[in-house]
Symmetry: C2
Subunit: 250 residues, 2 copies
DNA sequence: GATCTGCCTTGATGCAGATCAAAAAGGGAA
DNA sequence: TTCCCTTTTTGATCTGCATCAAGGCAGATC
């Protein structure tokens, strides 16, 4: 908690850093150095483009500046499971590992801030704060992954969909209107039905059916295929199967 | 990889540290200090005992010395999902968080090495290596969690069982006979059928049925309910659905 | 040895979600 | 506008695992 507050404070000072860019603090501290040594550069990807394939050589680490990317694992026979959703500020890659462990794909147009791996590792060794920030972020990701394990292992299709919508809605609401709890939230789904199914461990047909069911039951309102309105966040939360207190950790 | 080698080297010097105790290195560096300041202490639990309940105040972090513990999440209606298996050397708790996020239960008799949280955090701030080691370990856990997401979301019951057996067998084999690939592996299951089902997102009946099926098909040999022999590791791996090259990351 | 108790196995049946198939709805491009 | 192509929806059917329900077995207690 205290660390998060510290990060928010520092973010005020970050010139080119996007809102919610948690990795920012490491960047800011190291920015001047990094630019000088040319270890930092930006890369853009178009929606749908693959950033890197699992197993490929990966000589950089990066953080998402704008856009959304996904991490997916694929089995030999083609079964796919998304294991991570990368939002602005999220970190990709792993110090100490030279090849990618997952497929990384841009689902929207994407800009990433990359650091050459070796110099980044050196920087980490000499700047203790960076490892500590990365640890914080990684622990957050681990918690998210474990929450997702509960979803994948034990929730029904309807609960899975509701949970995903709740996560996206909450993130979106906090972006647009931090601190306020809007009674009515509208947003564009950043994922196709197929991507949703890969994330939730379902088929795309089941995703579609459950979206229709939630619409029929008035839990959500669909305008076109992508735009979603949540009339009552409470009603949506009732469908997720999560504890009603909703207080998310940290 | 290089970091792992470094850790192994340092382990030689660790007096009371159990084999494979990765957290050891942080401990060793800080051990003298810790003992002096009395921030470190050991606790024992009996098999079946709950170490801590989700939501409870947790003013320590710890690492497992001997025995096995589990992390589980429970939904309001009682559905349970195990989200982590803690083996000797694994770390529990989170710097910066004062309450437990999961139920922690001892499945065997368990000894944990605990550090009072606040002093541990201070130690982390003043000893950069500790954060770096914790980061390594947390990234490993994140990879394991993501592998588990693929299992929970996309694997069949038979593949899930085979995967779990493969993980336990591999760990066991590396403990007993590091570096050698034994053609025939025998071990005791550290989990009940119900715990296996909680881990795999199945019911205990399905676990039992699939164990019987693997036995019938000669993939495993059961002696009693707990002792398992794997006649051919290759045959077992064929049932997991995993890539045949089997090369696990890192 | 008899009974109890906590796992574990096995059988019968049901259902949520997968699979197979086709139609509908957008959304660009010409 | 029309056509084409991708995405989404909807329908019909199938199936893997859950659920419900008995037993079985082995170690503990008396």
């Amino acid at each position: 908690m205290s660390v998060h507050r510290e990060i928010r404070t520092q973010m005020q000072d970050c010139g080119d850093c996007p809102i919610r860019h948690r990795a920012v603090c490491a960047r800011c501290e190291a920015d001047e150095l990094a630019q000088l040594e040319q270890i930092k550069y930006y890369r853009s990807y178009q929606a749908g483009q693959t950033v890197i394939w699992s197993g490929d050589k990966m000589d950089f680490v990066a953080s998402v500046v704008t856009g959304i990317a996904t991490l997916t694992q694929t089995m030999e026979d083609g079964r796919r499971q998304m294991v991570g959703l990368l939002l602005p500020s999220d970190f990709v890659g792993r110090p100490g590992r030279s090849s990618a462990a997952y497929d990384v794909t841009a689902t929207t147009d994407l800009v990433m801030c990359c650091f050459r791996r070796k110099p980044f590792e050196d920087m980490m060794a000499s700047t203790p704060h960076i490892a500590q920030r990365l640890l914080e972020m990684t622990l957050d990701e681990l918690d998210a992954a474990r929450e997702w394990m509960l979803l994948l292992g034990r929730k029904t299709a309807r609960e899975k969909i509701a949970s995903l919508l709740a996560i996206i809605a909450r993130r979106d609401a906090s972006l647009k209107q931090p601190r306020a709890v809007a009674p009515r939230i509208t947003f564009d789904l950043p994922l196709t039905r197929e991507e949703m199914s890969d994330y939730l461990g379902l088929t795309l047909e089941t995703v579609s059916r459950q979206m229709s069911a939630l619409k029929r039951d008035g839990i959500i309102v669909l305008d076109g295929k992508r735009q979603v309105t949540i009339p009552s966040m409470d009603a949506l939360m009732d469908e997720t199967g999560d504890d009603s207190d909703g207080g998310y950790l940290v």
